[in-house]
Amino acid sequence: MMSLIIVVGVVLALAILYLIFRISSLVGIAKEKKEDEVSENNGIHATLFAIFMLLGLGAFFWYSFTHFDSYNLPVASEHGVVTDMLFWVTMGITVVAFVVISIIMIVFVYAYQYKEGRKATFYPDNHYLELAWTIIPAIVLAVLIFTGLRAWNDITSPASAEAEVIELVAQQFAWTVRYPGNDNTLGKVHYQLIDNFGNEFGLDLSDNKSFDDFKSLELHLPKGKEILLKIRAKDVLHSVFLPHFRVKMDAVPGMPTHFKFVATKTTKEMREETGNPEFNYELACTEICGKGHFSMRMAVVVDTQEDFETWKREQETWLKQNPGYLEKVPANLRESALIKSGIQVNTVSVESKAVFSAGGGSN
């Protein structure tokens, strides 16, 4: 019933609008408007443009200043300070250009609106003017290009050997993190070793380096130390986005990517700076990857280096959490695997022996 009333109402409203349109058309015909006469309402549009521009620019500046904190994310990385600076320099230049050109255009629109009897000025070209507005933008852009290039080269330069290596693995629709463990080297992986039972990284258990790797469902980062994110994807494209660190890099199946950066503020410091005790860093996916794309979130924690080291020591290795995979370790590496994974602390304990024999008994 309700929808019927709505439909009838809409039809009536449209009919009335149509009638108004018809009547005013007929009135127009009755008044016998000359065909190529410029309508006397011509000036209204010039005025409307002027009003629109004033209101628009006003709203633009008002919102940009009053809501600055709501759209300007605090920055927490070294290169982020540089790219933000570039962003705001570009903003300054472009806003000036935008405002000046907009005002000039609307002033022209207003000042040169049709007047009967006036003749437009025949002004087909002026090489000096054209040269000027080719060269000036070219110079401004050259400056932006070179500052941008310098920043880009710094950001994309190779990471130092001491960098903290962390691997981010993307899949539909979750992230996992792998840390290299005590040896600071990530073990080899291969996508055909991935399974559904525990080896989600596709760890190659014939590689000595993989035994002390550990997995985390939170991304922990140290403050003040260069971090090298190694990024890969298991199924489709994803993209690592750490908005506060100004970090973005696609995760590509079959082509590992990386991004290096230095975090400059711990989570705790950021909570103080923003005055928000609930503040958390976040990791988002920015490359369309399917149904759950919009919820592919991971919590990020930045600690001081000491806290970070402590946290790392507290983590159990992947192998310790998945002892069944010991059987895939070649016999000559088992001893090393038991020690590196922390299953066995110094001497072969009773429990780990049991695991060992249960896992690799057939050998």
């Binding site: 759209y71 790219t83 629109v109 880009w152 080269n153 908005p243 609930e278 149904k291």
Partner: protein
């Protein structure tokens, strides 16, 4: 000059004027399988309008989800059926399908076929002075391939697994693996087939446009006397001819990967509990191929709009376009550069950073010719005598969008700044303004301006004014706030805004954007009414309603197949003799010889009078103004 092989019917100049197309042939040959470029243009236009409406409606559906996430959408169930979940929400996968189809439809079916297809077809023969396209048959095929493509794309909307859903850029592996997203099943197959046909259509059209412009200009119509519209269509067709085949290759390789088990774009994939055998392919390769079309595509969409606007602004300012040659030069420069900037879409794909540096350099260079165009438009307004016809308003709107959207390109073209902004709403705001809205306004401006020539009747001005102001303000309200959301880092193609703390504070802006989008769409119905009503009941158009100089206004009110009843008029001057000092009227059509206008000729033009007498007015004169 080449002669045409169109048999020009014995044209009865129809005094009643009420009836169209009085030449021989039946309904089918005149309106459906017509080889008349004007009819084909209208076919492209009507199909384009259909798609624009559909694309707009799709966007409003997903804006409902984004602006009012708590809204119960059960009332859409009669239309969307199972895509509304039992809780009354939009299905997240269907949301992606909506975004994908909105992009595909708007970029290809509306702003490529609807814009270029309509106005290149309509204006090239009329403004060059030709009886029809070089090949009327190929031109007809061009439309029918587009029609077939449209039908297939339309059918894909109704599949139970939904249409393609991997984004309009269809990056593999998502688009290659049906197990990754439902839309990559039959929906993607139909998408690829439709696009392959679409490319065939574009190539058939483009070859015709280029040939016609080069070979079939009337006597005296040298390249430097071509209106800027024709120059724009010319460059557009060349860009399309060189870049669309690359998309065809990419689509074909993707079809192989999907159906024949090849590994062009697939490698090292573990999905749905199994490791796929494909190794050695590269998803990045697809992106290179896609954007090798994708970026020139931006200019395929934009250049015709800029050409149309140049013509309209000059006509309604009653002034020559400022810097005619600079306009051609900047379009040429843009056309060339458009081929070597594609990888700026890929700064953070893991591509070699050195490539990023090169592409950043080339990308920012392209801002120079774009800036020149804006300055030239503004200078054309200076000391003009501006008549605000609806077409003029939409053209000014285009310049405004081109400026607002263009300058944000300077941020995105800078690879260091792009790290943060890539794939956020900042990008959405940027390209919707500079390419989407600007081109859309160019298309609307063109419709308002050339409607009298297309249908012999005038559109209603007042409805046009309302349409313009609601749309102009609406577009700004839709896309301007997106810059803020984007600076805050909010990623595009997200079904919901609330999962992340860093960007969940924009419910007010998002609601505003959605309301503005609904109003903007609603305003388009005013246009639709005006368009179809005026087609049959509009005031009869005078021969030259805008006092324009170009050739199309020398044809009869209802031009027949063949365009001019008698001989094709010769051309003696450039198309921008508006408000020439000393002239009696404020415009001198291209067909008036200098010998008839001694009062307004410049000295160098007086010298040309001698050459006019030989009956072959085909004089190529450089730098006459």
């Amino acid at each position: 000059m080449a002669t045409t092989h169109i048999h020009t019917q014995d044209v009865h100049h129809d005094a009643h004027g009420d009836e169209h197309e009085h030449h021989e042939g039946n309904f089918w040959t005149n309106y459906i399988f017509s080889q008349d470029h004007k009819v084909i243009a209208k076919q492209f236009l009507i199909t384009g309008i259909f798609w624009a409406l559909l694309g707009g409606i799709l966007s409003v559906i997903f804006r409902l989800q984004l602006g009012f996430p708590d809204m119960n959408l059960d009332w859409l169930k009669p239309v969307l059926g199972g895509w509304i979940t039992p809780e009354g929400k939009l299905d997240p996968e269907f949301y992606l399908a909506l975004v994908t189809m909105h992009g595909t439809i708007m970029v290809f079916f509306v702003l490529t076929a609807g814009l270029s297809g309509t106005f290149s077809n309509f204006l090239i023969p009329l403004q060059c002075g030709a009886r029809d396209m070089a090949s009327g048959f190929m031109n007809m095929l061009s439309y029918w391939f587009f029609f077939l493509s449209s039908v297939i794309m339309f059918i894909s909307l109704f599949l139970s697994t939904g249409p393609a859903g991997g984004g309009w850029t269809i990056y593999p592996p998502l688009s290659a693996l049906p197990q990754a997203i439902q839309g990559s099943g039959l929906g993607m197959t139909l998408w690829l087939v439709a696009m392959a046909l679409f490319i065939v259509s574009t190539l058939l059209g483009g070859i015709n446009y280029i040939t016609t412009i080069i070979n079939m200009r009337t006597r005296g119509m040298s390249f430097t006397r071509l209106p800027l519209t024709i120059w724009a269509f010319f460059f557009t067709a060349i860009i399309g001819l060189l870049s669309f085949p690359v998309l065809f290759a990419a689509a074909l390789l993707l079809i192989f990967d999907r159906s024949l088990g090849t590994s062009f774009f697939l490698s090292d994939i573990y999905i749905g509990g199994e490791a796929l055998p494909n190794v050695g392919g590269s998803p990045i390769l697809f992106q290179h191929l896609f954007w090798f079309l994708g970026h020139p595509e931006v200019y395929i969409v934009l250049l015709p709009a800029l050409g149309i606007t140049s013509e309209i602004i000059a006509t309604n300012s009653r002034k020559p376009i400022f810097g005619y040659k600079a306009m051609i030069g900047s379009m040429l420069f843009i056309a060339i550069l458009s081929f070597i900037v594609w990888a700026h879409h890929m700064f953070v794909t893991g591509m070699n950073p050195f490539l990023g540096s090169i592409f950043m350099l080339l990308t920012l260079i392209i801002a120079v010719p774009s800036a020149v165009k804006i300055f030239n438009y503004v200078t054309t307004l200076w000391k003009g005598n501006l008549r605000f016809t609806p077409a003029m308003l939409f053209s000014i709107g285009l310049v405004s969008f081109f400026l607002t959207g263009g300058i944000t390109g300077i941020f995105l073209g800078n690879s260091a700044v792009d790290i943060q902004l890539h794939d956020t709403y900042f990008v959405v705001a940027h390209f919707h303004l500079v390419m989407g809205s600007a081109s859309f306004f160019g298309m609307l401006a063109g419709i308002y301006h050339w409607f009298p020539k297309m249908f012999g009747r005038m559109m209603d001005d007042r409805l046009g004014y309302i349409h313009f102001w609601v749309t102009f303000v609406g577009v700004y309200l839709v896309f301007f706030p997106m810059h803020y959301i984007g600076i805050a880092g909010f990623p595009r193609r997200y079904y919901s805004f609330t999962n992340f703390e860093f960007a969940n504070g924009f419910t007010d802006l998002n609601a505003l954007v959605s309301v503005a989008a609904i109003l903007t769409l609603a305003a388009q119905f005013i246009f639709l009414f005006n368009f179809f009503y005026s087609m049959f009941r509009g005031r009869l158009a005078p021969a030259n309603p805008w006092n324009s100089t170009t050739l199309e206004w020398t044809t009869p009110r209802f031009p027949q197949h063949g365009n001019w009843p008698g001989e094709i008029p010769a051309v003696y001057r450039w198309p921008y003799d508006y408000s020439k000092p000393g002239a009696k009227e404020d415009f001198i059509p291209q067909t008036i010889p200098f010998s008839e206008t001694p009062e307004s000729n410049f000295p160098n033009e007086n010298e040309l009078i001698k050459l006019e007498g030989n009956g072959h007015g085909a004089i190529v004169v450089e730098g006459k103004h």
